[in-house]
Symmetry: D3
Subunit: 145 residues, 6 copies
């Protein structure tokens, strides 16, 4: 197996809070991430595909194609958006970097035709990121978020 | 002269629009930056001080002190905030990276006791930044923003 | 004045040699940069515009527009190209990073409508770059290159 | 086990095409990577060794020695070269980043005396890279490339 | 499982030598790292936690808490210190980046309450780093170091 | 004029204190930088040369030559050293990043044969650096340091 990776960036805003909690509880848990008007980040999304290089091309997957899949299925929906309000596939999810990564996996999983989706790595800042390998994980959807 | 520089980061959201313009005009000029719910960035603020090193310390300015000035006067007001709504000293300003840099200069100019403020450099993304050296520039304050 | 900067990247190959010199002289001066089959780099092009922010937009220049100008006038001509053979506006020039920067200035100078072209910064590697501010400089065009 | 990693950079050019295909087929598949005069990159090669630190040195492998092995066996053969024409151990291989990584593994595998080669990571650009862990993979050698 | 990572930096000095060896043997093995007055680095410490996001917060671990644990248990003990002399928990250890990573694991392992410590990654320079996943490894403590 | 820049890195340790001051005064001013056993950094040294490209080479200065000058006159003296004790040309100077930059200028000024030394930029950490353009500045040499 070889693992090939492409990354893209997008700029978005979000707010972290649990709609079933009191203001004080949200402040205690989410602190400055709970700012009602939100705040934002330049996210970096890295997508890794595992596979065997095609003998006639030497490609596991054409990285130009992979980039196009990432742009069509993720970037155009989230870039310059508010992740709590503007993105249908994130609706009702607390947009932590963990939860976003899980949803991005679901968005991309069936779009990869050459090789297999292996990892989503998502940077929220230069010093904070998550990695997700697609193991089934439950995340909660709030009707009132 | 020697020029010493410190940088810090902060995460914030903003929306670019001119309240005196129609929706269509704002869309045409600001495009995706005009998303009503805003979007965000990890900003990097670089502050450069010019001066002559003190003979007894070898410092133009103690960079720990400079960082503290930047944290007290800028970072604590803008980090994890919405720049259109949450920051008194940015109130009424279209928060382009140009305008923010000018206002940050005004915030910092009189706080530097060793050396002299020389430059504000503000990154909005890894590929976009502005530099401002303090020449008087008019920027507009909108009452209805 | 405020200085706004945008950067883009492109990947290209080149070979450094003077067609009026012997092989030995070229080897002595250009060393491994004279490899006949060429070698290549991921270049980073930074373009800086100086100007005063428009009162109604807060922009010196819309960075989306600046990026488009850089893509149309530079990137599409040089990305994934051999700089000695494939780029009409570089024809006959020894493609050192110095000479390329001067030619890029000529390509961009009249395309900027908001603000004024102030600086071209061109990285050849992470540890090597040039800066050019548009002062008239003679560079040589070789008919036999 | 501990995993120790060293990286080095090199600048090279390459062209991607399959000599058994028509021009049109190559254009369709490899697009701008098929430019006949080639294009180039600043590659970053990361080599990871797994092992247990020696009790008397605290080293899995002396990173100065690892760097020397990388320079002797890889860098001096590929830096400032055209990967299609100038590198005997890449002769006949379509020089995709996947195929290059596999060949680099073969070049380094038997040269590591302390610890064991664990991973080759090869960046072609800041946003594209592959990782290879040495599982046997068939890659094709073309006589007419 | 999801893997969340935070990184911090610290600046420290160290000297590599084995007190049971002759000066010549130390010179031969550790070379310039054996400089008696030491030398130093800006280290980057990355800590990765594995776990499942809490349904009510979307967090595997609050990264602000993780950072605090890293600052309290590592950074405040090693930043602006000499790793051979000033850090009780490193006393007697040859402070290679491998050995430091193992000791940092021991310092952090029981401090993580949400999720589980998965990886320590420690950069000594931009081109050298180690990764450690907590498998039991013997490292030697010298009484005379 | 064109400005060409090369950067190199080195790892060193230092301690900041004024030998004419009391321990308490040094603690107050230099704080953790006054740790008696020192601490260290990965420094990045950028050297910028101004000049006009030679018509026959397209070079202001051959960057391979500039790198060699930087390695011979700076790197080999400071890499893996303690800047207070091990470097003759820094003897008696409080090794702040400002003072080091001034001394580096003196070391390099007469070694540049093509073009003219224009700027020394010295990073102490990723977030702290100084720039020096060679204006005469007095720095103090302490006999008892």
């Amino acid at each position: 197996m070889i693992y090939v990776t492409k990354n893209i960036t997008f700029s978005a805003s979000h707010r972290l809070y649990n709609p079933n909690w009191t203001h004080d509880k949200n402040e205690e848990v989410f602190d400055k991430c709970n700012n009602p008007n939100g705040h934002g980040h330049n996210y970096i999304l890295e997508v890794t595909i595992e596979g065997i290089p095609n003998l006639e091309t030497g490609y596991v997957i054409d990285l130009k194609k992979l980039k196009k899949i990432m742009m069509e299925n993720i970037e155009k929906h989230v870039d310059h958006k508010h992740l709590n309000y503007d993105v249908p596939f994130l609706k009702g999810i607390i947009p932590t970097v963990e939860n976003i990564a899980v949803v991005f996996w679901q968005q991309l999983e069936n779009k990869i035709e050459d090789g297999k989706l292996f990892k989503i790595k998502l940077y929220e800042t230069d010093s904070s990121y998550v990695e997700y390998f697609g193991e089934p994980i439950e995340i909660k959807t709030f009707d009132n978020l």
